[in-house]
Symmetry: C2
Subunit: 259 residues, 2 copies
Amino acid sequence: MPHLPHTSIHLNALADFPMIEPNNDLATVLIQSLQHNGIALETRDVVVLAQKIVSKAEGRLVRLADVQPSARALEVAEEINKDSRMIELILSESREIVAQRPGVLIVEHRLGYIMANAGIDQSNIDHPNDEEYALLLPENPDQTCAQLKSALDRHFNADVGVIINDSFGRPWRMGVTGVALGSAGLPSLLSLIGKPDLYGRAMRVSEIAFADEIAAAASLIMGQTSAGQPVVHVRGLQWEEPSNSAQTLLRPRHQDLFR
Amino acid sequence: MPHLPHTSIHLNALADFPMIEPNNDLATVLIQSLQHNGIALETRDVVVLAQKIVSKAEGRLVRLADVQPSARALEVAEEINKDSRMIELILSESREIVAQRPGVLIVEHRLGYIMANAGIDQSNIDHPNDEEYALLLPENPDQTCAQLKSALDRHFNADVGVIINDSFGRPWRMGVTGVALGSAGLPSLLSLIGKPDLYGRAMRVSEIAFADEIAAAASLIMGQTSAGQPVVHVRGLQWEEPSNSAQTLLRPRHQDLFR
């Protein structure tokens, strides 16, 4: 089965996407916003949602004043000079610390992502009465994507893809790039093993982090500042490979040279 | 200065891009292909070229029969069970070996990229008389981008961006993603330090690997197989930050937790 060529891809940020509050029904808000933007989703369209709005909808906001740091959190906080309540939250969302430097813990998140500070963010969060809040990652991004896909498929009578993205730093390279925390309806890891190259020679590059590349493309348009555009509609992608979840993008520990 | 929002981004693969041969003038071929595709470049348009066509144009094809492996190359070849002539080429293009496993050397390339096998590829290469060839990375991707930008700017009377991309594997995550080997005319690393978030709080995520995200987006459309579309035109990106080269994306060793 050939990998179909994409001739062109169009990324479009949804205009006027509303501020998301805890317990908003994200599927309903999303469908309304797509309609407001005059977009009728088609099969192979992909919708990319910023992690922050999913976390907010899931009520993953934690008031720092309510966090009681453990002895371990106090110890790590001292080591890396960071708020012990943030450390407590990071540790509670993580399987283990992979590395650390002042202000940053690189951890294995409970869902397997290797990332800074378990993805917990103090930025861009409502803070009524000037209280300090932190926003945790969604409970289960793959599951949320599957639920959103199901609602979108039903509403638009199509077979769409959904990705929740976030920005990760990387070893060796500066700056963050968009990556897929969760996905549904597309091959997150797209395997081209055994497909011939231009000269019929077997491919050497075998697997493409398809969902991460889509997540990075969407990040280009989401903006990180006051222009916040947390939902991006992608049209023009093509694939024939079966879907697999964003968990497929996690490298098994025994295959990893850098842990 | 606000970071301008992108409302939409359009990626378009150039149709009928010709096979590139050694010593082709890439700027001329590129301009002809853009014209053939009815594209008049505008300021802030970005053209992304696959590494392979730049390497080919620069004559970076090496006949393996001409490679004489050193004692060190023979030793490493034995350790990782790989063709000693390929090892010789990899070592000659590298500053040091960062890690190794069967078939793969992770090296610091002479230009600073940490990557598998110094980016040397045996796939998708002409092999007349069934001889074995390998294709090295371009001599100086940033410089080539600057030269192409200069030719494109002059021809189209615009101020465009140019990126040369390649696909890199990553620690911790499966699959390859597009990254920028070289760039010109855009902020490869886009710094948002101190810009306010939605609530006026200082940004925590400070630097975006803008050129890598563009490179990844372009990879989505380039295809890895017989559909090879090595040049992608990107329209709709916006930025105000000053340009910096793809070398800016390399993390200084002393800041790196994973070396």
